[in-house]
């Protein structure tokens, strides 16, 4: 079997960094290596050297590469108990002191998380009060998120999650089926601003009452997690909320002391220090 060496991965990341404005050098090696292996198989490249040459020469291919190297697997209402907590406690708490709520989905992937949020807010009758920004590094996945068109197959799990979230309607009230595809109700996200943004090299661009960055930093090593968390910390108002994936943790991170745990099972943190 063809073995991908760590030194090859380093070389590839260096070249990407030099030529394009992306820095994968501190992505977690184990998953990054699997993604590269997958790209080699997908394009039938015999070695990483061929991939490196292709990346050097072909900036259109590079965009595809970014798209393949990132893991876009997502669900609506992933971890239903988290969404219940958001609806029953966190959002009411924010709206106690604010007329409006600003939300950032960092690493929104194909947008299922954004639709979940929009549905939740509509059912609370608060959607009109929300200003939502959804970003991802992967340009093509942001395009997909904007369209809000999903496969029939994916709806099985989404529907199960929605039922366990105990929503007020049927999930099917929020979409139509056209040509065997699920078309989400576009009015849910008409106020959402979708953008391409890189958490690693991109700057801090705003402050929010609520940031969701779930299952994104698991692809980073600890050094990069610390760097990105610093930016997320800067992007949250004091006494506002950061939410990460259910199997991620802030405990080991440099900025841990600037947050308190609001709900450990659902990984909800509140910023208490600037």
């Amino acid at each position: 079997m063809y073995e991908i060496e760590i030194s090859d991965i380093r070389k590839l990341s260096e070249i990407v960094k030099e030529k394009y404005d992306y820095d994968f050098t501190n992505y977690a090696i184990s998953s990054f290596k699997r993604r590269i292996k997958r790209v080699l198989e997908l394009y039938k490249f015999k070695s990483i050297a061929i991939l490196i040459d292709k990346i050097k020469e072909d900036s259109v291919f590079f965009e595809e590469f970014v798209s393949e190297i990132t893991v876009n697997v997502t669900e609506m209402f992933r971890d239903p108990s988290f969404w219940r907590e958001l609806r029953d406690h966190i959002i009411p708490n924010i709206l106690l002191n604010h007329d409006n709520i600003s939300i950032w989905h960092a690493g929104c992937s194909s947008g299922e998380e954004v639709f979940s949020m929009a549905i939740l807010l509509r059912e609370m009758n608060m959607l009109h009060k929300a200003k939502i920004i959804a970003t991802d590094i992967d340009k093509s996945i942001v395009e997909k998120a904007k369209k809000g068109v999903y496969s029939m197959k994916s709806m099985d799990l989404n529907t199960k999650n929605y039922i366990r979230f105990q929503g007020e309607q049927d999930l099917k009230d929020y979409y139509t089926v056209e040509n065997q595809k699920i078309v989400m109700d576009p009015t849910l996200v008409e106020g959402v601003s979708y953008r391409v943004h890189d958490l690693v090299n991109g700057g801090v661009f705003n402050k929010f009452d609520l940031i969701l960055c779930r299952n994104v930093m698991i692809y980073f090593n600890q050094k990069l997690q610390n760097m990105v968390l610093k930016k997320l910390h800067e992007s949250i108002f004091k006494y506002s909320y950061l939410i990460i994936g259910s199997k991620e943790s802030l405990i080991w991170c440099d900025i841990a002391s600037k947050f308190i745990v609001v709900n450990n099972d659902e990984k909800i943190y509140k910023k208490i220090k600037d």
Partner: protein, 200 residues
């Protein structure tokens, strides 16, 4: 005296299992010496959308507490870990865990192949892989990776398995070191425990 020979120390044991492996796992966990030192990392196929309950069910009879690791958590001596629902569990250079939500492998997330492959890369010849009963071929390739890196491979005796697809696939792909019943696996682990103690 025991028939198992060891000539080095081991950094981890990875156990893979799927349909029909629950009883066997419980038996192994209930027979572990209290001070068993080598970390045990379990990757078991489980319901994707059920986050809670599985650890508790396994823990009832387990000698040691079982933990579902967080992303980038350190692997420690004496601990037993279980891959969380709906995440792949990989081992990272520097002895930490790494989680991922990437595509399913052989219809499975967590995938045993991913845990075994990443562990074999990090621990090389200091890894022991154990594959139990199961209805698909996840894990067979991972066992080959362990063998290629010089580690020890064990599979549950197919005749003892409720569903033998998984161990049989591994036996087909790799020259497995030991094909054992659950009782023999327990014996193996006890012998290993004695060996590790003599090293210290």
């Amino acid at each position: 005296m025991t028939k198992y020979k060891f000539d080095r120390t081991y950094k981890a044991i990875v156990i893979g299992g799927s349909a029909g492996s629950f009883q066997g796992i419980v038996k192994i966990l209930s027979a572990l010496p209290v001070d068993f030192k080598i970390p045990i990392i379990m990757c078991l196929h489980r319901l994707k959308h059920v986050r809670n309950g599985f650890v508790e069910a396994l823990s009832i009879k387990s000698i040691k507490p079982i933990e579902e690791p967080y992303d980038k958590q350190n692997i420690k001596f004496g601990k037993v870990y279980l891959a969380p629902a709906n995440y792949h569990l990989a081992i990272e250079l520097g002895n930490t865990f790494s989680l991922s939500t990437e595509e399913m492998n052989q219809n499975s997330r967590p995938s045993i192949d991913i845990t075994l492959d990443s562990a074999s890369y990090v621990f090389k010849e200091k890894l022991i892989g154990i594959l139990l009963s199961g209805a698909n071929k996840d894990g067979a390739w991972g066992m080959k990776r362990i063998k290629d890196h010089g580690g020890i491979t064990l599979v549950q005796e197919p005749k003892e398995c409720m569903i033998d697809t998984m161990p049989s696939a591994a036996i087909e792909q790799t020259k497995i070191d030991h094909i054992l019943t659950i009782n023999e696996i327990i014996e193996f682990l006890n012998a290993l425990h004695v060996h590790i103690k003599t090293l210290n």
